[in-house]
Amino acid sequence: MSVVIDDNGFCADHWTHGFCRVDDLPARESTGPLAVDIDNDFDVSALRERFGGIALIRVAFPTATDGRGYSQARHLRMLGYRGRLRAAGHLIADQYVLARQSGFDEVEISDSLAARQPEAQWRNCASRARHSYQTLLRT
């Protein structure tokens, strides 16, 4: 199982409709709102035409030191994606702020990681969000 973290702290996964791999997306044309899994080397501009039908995009973070996902999130937001964005995999508490500022709404980590880095640490790290130069310089 896994834990989802948003600005309210640890919570259960609110998305219960399952995820589809981005490769399977063309086949899923007409069914209801979708959640899509992408790897962090995926060119997100390919999803541009499908934004309306996607409720959630989940970006994989294979390791905490691989920062590609932050730029994917930013790119998705710049392209106009308005659905939910989730960073999932190996992220540490200190990276919650980075993820949020890059355009993610939430983070998903494994139960074991959540046990090692409990909710209080995530909340503590999240509280530092106000000192961001980037928000001073751009929207």
């Binding site: 080397d41 905490a64 030191t65 691989d66 920062g67 590609r68 932050y70 730029s71 994917q72 930013r74 790119h75 710049m78 392209l79 540490i92 508490a93 200190d94 990276q95 702020v97 980075l98 993820a99 949020r100 500022q101 890059s102 090692r116 880095q117 409990p118 640490q121 503590n124 790290c125 530092r128 000192h131 961001s132 130069y133 980037q134 001073l136 310089l137 751009r138 929207t139």
Partner: protein, 793 residues
Amino acid sequence: MYNYTDFDRAFLKARVVQFDDQVERRIGGALTEDEFRPLRLMNGLYQLLHAYMLRVAIPYGTLNSRQMHKLADIADRWDKGYGHFTTRQNIQYHWPKLRDVPKILAALAEVDMHAVQTSGPCIRAITADHLAGAAVDELADPRPTAELLRQWSSDHNEFAFLPRKFKIAVTGSETDRAVIRAHDIGIQLVQGPEGEAGYKILVGGGLGRTPMIAKVMRDFLPRADLLPYVEAILQVYNQIGRRDNKYKARIKITVHELGIEAFREQVEARFILQRRHFDGSDQTVLARIEQDFTAPEFLDLPTGAFKAARREDPAFRLFADTNLSAHKHDGYAIVSVSLKKHGATPGDASSAQMRALAEIAKAYAHDELRVSHEQNIVLPHVPLAYLPRVYAALRAADLATANIGLISDMIACPGMDYCDLATARSIPLAQQIARRFDALKLEHEIGHLKIKISGCVNACGHHHVGHIGILGLEKSGIESYQITLGGEAGAEAGIGRRVGPGFSAEAILPAIETLIKTYLALRLDPDETFHLAFQRLGMAPFRAALYPDAPRTPLIKRVPELNRQYRDQSAQSLLTRALKDPQLGRTALVSSFGAESVVLLHLVATIAPDTPVLFVDTGLLFPETLKYQKMLAGRFGLSDLRILKPDRARLFEQDPENSLHQLDTDTCCALRKIGPLQEGLKGFDAWITGRKRYQGGQRQALEFFENEGDLRIKINPLAHWSRGDMLAYIAKHDLPRHPLVQRGYPSIGCAPCTTAVAAGEPARAGRWRNLEKTECGIHFPPKDRKTGESAGL
């Protein structure tokens, strides 16, 4: 100087608290070592060979006396009483204890300083021209732009976990003192077609194990587009930069593999998206930053004291002539303070020296200091009037070494003495080189020269862009030093090329000395710096000097190269250099002591009277020639005259009655002249002749250098002289002529085969008169002689 805002201070304070918390969580086990490492590095904390190392940012190298005092206090309180200024314009403390680090960071924050992003896979501390705001050639101060980039890149949410470190440098001058071409992004302040402010953007430069010169992304980028454009570059790099191999992870490889056009295309597409998110608030911030960087109120003080001190105190004059650069304001100078005292560790300063510098800056230099990437300290604004006092204060602090830009002003990485990446020592080598040339008292004569030393392929010592680069490697447990030549860091940046196989730790210093001596022997004049001389000469003479026993390239290839190197030189200049040129080796002058020989003999005698001079006494020469030879040798002090005579046994066999010349002049010449000369030339690599183009025939195409097959080189220093030049030289130096010249012999060989020449006849008409023969065969083989109408020795 930039004045911290409440926001900046709150940011730093939060950062210190955050790092404290991260250390706690690491100790508590919430963070693994792999998770903690990048966080530690992004706060400047390294784990090195012996201890932790803390790298403190000095953004774009600018600091005031209060900050410098604090750096000294930190050195005393938490380190061993000194700090090391680096090529990134930072300062490193090599001996802090882990538990003291948060205290050090808090102390730094008191003076608006930090160690943020001095390491780790993020945008590193921004560097800029160390002469910013003071240099004469500056278009605009690059530091407001650097400060804007510092703020923008600080804790940037998107770029904290890049494929690799990322370095940005900014310059406001065409003279590129910030080495922007060796950075991931290089930024130059330029004007657009309408005179509007903007930037030239370069990308993909870097040294390390794959050195590359940055490529131009945009010749002109409007000022307001800087952050969105740089953000677009970083975003593309963050997504497509390689993460499979750390040696291929820098943006230079991304750009190289993709090609600059394709890379630019991706960036420009992203830039269009980025620009919408910049609403001008960055430009408001920039405008505020710029107000902090207005020039100090310059003083107009009398400069008499400076002029008097310069006139009267030779030590002050040497310091002034070496360590000052022109300031944009009259009556001011930029003072470079060397941290490279001969034998010291380049870049190290004691706490006492830091305090002295702080006090000098406060009292005499508008309270401003800089750290240069060359690991020196700069006082950017010093009134000339205060210079004698500044000099005295620097002397008292042992900081008055007059060697800026000279051989001992080296860049060296910490090397194997400190760094666990290093494969060889670099600081001890820098110390040896400095001491050696100080002892030889050659430093000022050598002039401008940049030696850069790296202790491993990561190239922290920037060896690729050194005029002489030295790379220390380890080969089967033994240190080996490779030399590169021809690198340059400025606007004409270039990567040096390897000169040949490496040198052992014992051989590297003599090798550097050989290079310098070769340069001194071959340079055209003192204004031709080592680098300029290298550009003119190329690798060949230096390679020949360093590897005398290496197999030589065939003469047929070397000769055109020599003619290129020596193109347009005077006979005197050529002889002075050629006699010491390692490409030529052992060289003799061959002289007939004939009608015009006196010119070349005099030239050689004034340059190097110990040059071997070969003279062939055929046994049939005019007695006047023999007498003249003795007289000239004595008068010119020729100390290595070698008289070559025909082999007695062969003479007895072939010409016992001295009559062979009547039957067969060619055989006679071969026996009496060519044979002995060939014998005498054995052991020589080159010989000097007096032949000239104006003598006509085959000589019309004469070059300075010719090859005799692959046997020897012939040097013809007078090739381009006219008869008038010869006579003028003889007259100018009042040289004695051969006695037969007055009697109508303009060209003199052996007595039986030389006659006087009538008015109107060519000069050599009296040689072998009435025969087809025109050359003895020394210079042109007999079979060629029909094509030589009137040529000869």
